[in-house]
């Protein structure tokens, strides 16, 4: 057997140009297949880990998925707000243990600004009941103080004590609240959730910076300096959403119904787990299609390999006859061709895995910063191993064809191929 491996290796090396191209094709297709699976899996994980210990998310009546997306994942925008009175009313319900108000809409250099209360730092949990911890500084206590997430601090190189200015609206292009800068008083430790790319400020501060604004732009002629702002009533009028924790988790349905039927305004309360499930149902179809397409691409790559090896058979008939004359059996000829094809498949699969690792290493930081998508850096995850195995199995199956053809040719040609 070892002599066959040796011969197959030398033979393949001799044709390394064409075989190399098919190897690249297989490698790329494996990268695509495993990459799709990895992103799919890690995306689900990223989302599922973003919120923990929260029984209900309350917002204006939109779709549960949309509410989750903008309130927890900071993707998209809210269509309507929740009145402050409604929030207070719900927070006062005897079933409620804690309530975190969230006010969204502003941004800072592309990162979301979240107006919230100090309850956020007490009660917010992520990824299996982990609390927020500070890598530097502490939570905000005064009006124009901000706590930034780990990603924000890293990218923009903030330290405690830096001054920052917020933008109105979600993008960098937009009017700035330049007259009311904030001081960074705390930096949160990395969580691997959208918290990392958020800037947290007190609820009242959101109100304060919009005091002299109307309809999204500063009112001309009216400019209230920062020092005087405190004199105004800064109780927020609206918030975007609220996270609720209950005293008894089994009562979640009751609280949900209570919120949904609240007569003050149209509200909606969702269970985070259930809302995520709905999201995955929608996304799931696209995922499966992507996987199927990637599988097809792998099949195409393997078909190319088979074609190349088969095409080479014709000019190798004399070589096979020589091998037969020195004692190779037809079965060994079969194995020789199979080893070659399977070897290229294996090499292509390994190359694909390595390429994926490189891609992951380079693109993961971008994905994390822009989309909050945490892609794990590893060579092969367990789910991906199954796919790899399927690829190799397919390669072995496909290799049977050139092996068989060589076998038949060799039998028919004998020592003197009729060319």
């Amino acid at each position: 057997m070892s002599h066959l491996l040796y011969l197959a290796g030398r033979s393949a090396w001799n044709r390394r140009l064409t075989l190399g191209l098919t190897l690249i094709a297989i490698a790329l297709s494996v990268t695509l297949l495993l990459g799709v699976e990895r992103v799919r899996h890690d995306a689900r994980e990223s989302f599922a880990q973003s919120v923990s210990g929260t029984d209900l998310v309350i917002g204006a009546r939109t779709s549960p998925v949309q509410l989750m997306l903008y309130s927890v994942f900071r993707i998209g925008e809210a269509t309507n707000n929740v009145k402050w009175e409604s929030f207070q009313h719900l927070a006062a319900h005897p079933l409620v243990a804690w309530a975190i108000p969230l006010s969204l809409g502003d941004s800072h250099r592309g990162y979301s600004v979240v107006g919230t209360s100090t309850a956020y730092f007490d009660h917010f949990r992520y990824s299996g009941e982990q609390t927020l911890t500070f890598s530097a500084g502490t939570r905000f206590a005064n009006l124009f103080e901000a706590v930034v997430g780990a990603e924000v601090a890293e990218r923009l190189k903030y330290r405690a004590g830096d001054r920052i200015v917020l933008n109105h609206g979600a993008s960098d292009i937009g009017a700035e609240h330049a007259d009311k800068p904030f001081t960074v008083v705390g930096i949160l430790a990395r969580t691997g959730t959208p918290v990392d790319r958020s800037v947290h400020v007190p609820l009242e501060a959101i109100e304060a910076i919009h005091l002299d604004w109307q309809g999204g732009a500063p009112m001309p002629g009216v400019a209230i300096p920062a020092e005087y702002v405190r004199k105004f009533d800064l109780t927020p009028k609206n918030i975007t959403a609220a996270l609720i924790g209950l005293k008894s988790r089994a009562a979640v349905f009751r609280m949900q119904r209570y919120s949904n039927e609240y007569e003050g305004e149209p509200l909606m309360a969702v269970l985070p787990g259930v809302a995520l499930d709905q999201l995955w149902q929608v996304v799931g179809i696209a995922e499966r299609v992507l996987l199927a397409v990637s599988g097809m691409v792998v099949a195409v790559g393997l078909a190319g390999l088979v074609a190349v090896v088969l095409a080479s058979l014709n000019e190798r008939r004399r070589e096979l006859a020589i091998l037969r004359s020195v004692g190779a059996r037809p079965r060994e000829i079969f194995l020789l061709l199979m080893i070659e094809a399977v070897g290229i498949t294996l090499a292509g699969a390994v190359a694909g895995v390595i390429l994926l690792a490189i891609l992951t290493a380079t693109l993961a930081p971008v994905a994390a910063a822009r989309y909050g998508l945490i892609i794990e850096q590893r060579y092969v995850a367990s789910g991906e191993l199954v796919l790899l195995g399927a690829v190799v199995a397919m390669g072995v199956l496909a290799s049977l064809l050139p092996g068989y053809r060589a076998y038949k040719l060799s039998l028919a040609d004998g020592l003197t191929p009729r060319l």
């Binding site: 002599h3 040796y6 030398r10 033979s11 090396w13 001799n14 004399r318 070589e319 020589i322 091998l323 037969r324 004359s325 020195v326 004692g327 190779a328 059996r329 037809p330 079965r331 060994e332 004998g414 020592l415 003197t416």
Partner: protein
């Protein structure tokens, strides 16, 4: 008491699949050990078929092929292949060498497939490589050519390398199918002499097929294939 013949064909009849007329019909052919047989056969006379039958690559529809006392026609295909690799060395007219292996790698090929040939090669106390080098030296192949790709060699050099491969490991029979036909006229005689000398050295029986009768002088016996092959004289369909 005469030793058993090295090759014996009895009532051999072979038809290619799909053909109605037989390609070969030989009543009897006996070759003794140590003989040097020249088989005269022009193209199309069925000589390649005869060699394939002798090598056990093909099996006849009728009759028996006995080599070294073993009945090839009744052996399982895998045994026949092993037999061939153990006992028979082949030499062809052209394209004797595997293009992606070096000269020395080509020569040692039989020893990769046959344990017996390998054992025979090292029996003189040498390694397989060493034995190969010795043969190549005898066949006038310069040591500098050893690691070259075979495509860089001239035809004459290639044929001599092929001869070394056929002889490595002391096979009992060497079968040569027109090995000189591609060589220049003045080189043919020289190659033939080299081949005969080396066959004697390893005590191999040589079966040499060619259409060039001029070479027959150096051989112990000449056989005219057309004379012993009755197939041409038989009516169609028999």
């Amino acid at each position: 008491m005469t030793a058993a013949p090295i090759v014996r064909l009895d009532n051999l009849r072979f038809t290619w699949p799909g053909q109605s007329a037989a390609c070969l019909h030989i009543a009897e052919l006996v070759v003794d050990a140590g003989e040097r047989i020249f088989i005269y056969g022009p193209s199309g006379s069925g000589k390649s078929t005869l060699l394939a039958l002798l090598g056990g690559v093909l099996t006849p529809q009728h009759g028996r092929v006995r080599v070294l006392g073993a009945d090839l026609s009744s052996m399982r295909p895998s045994l026949r292949d092993r037999f061939r690799s153990d006992h028979v060395g082949f030499l062809f007219q052209l394209f004797n060498l595997v293009p992606y292996l070096s000269v020395i790698e080509n020569v040692v090929l039989p020893c990769r497939f046959s344990a017996r040939r390998r054992a025979q090669a090292v029996s003189a106390g040498n390694s397989v490589q060493g034995e190969a080098l010795r043969l190549l030296a005898h066949l006038d192949i310069d040591a500098s050519l050893l690691t070259r790709r075979v495509t860089e060699l001239s035809v004459g050099q290639q044929q001599r390398v092929a001869a070394a491969r056929a002889l490595l490991g002391r096979p009992e029979i060497v079968v040569a199918d027109e090995p000189t036909s591609a060589l220049d006229a003045d080189r043919q005689e020289a190659f033939l002499q080299l081949l005969l000398r080396e066959c004697d050295a390893v005590a191999a029986t040589l079966l040499f097929v060619s259409h060039d009768r001029r070479l027959a002088r150096a051989f112990t016996r000449e056989i005219d294939l057309a004379a012993i092959n009755r197939a041409d004289r038989e009516p169609q369909g028999s």
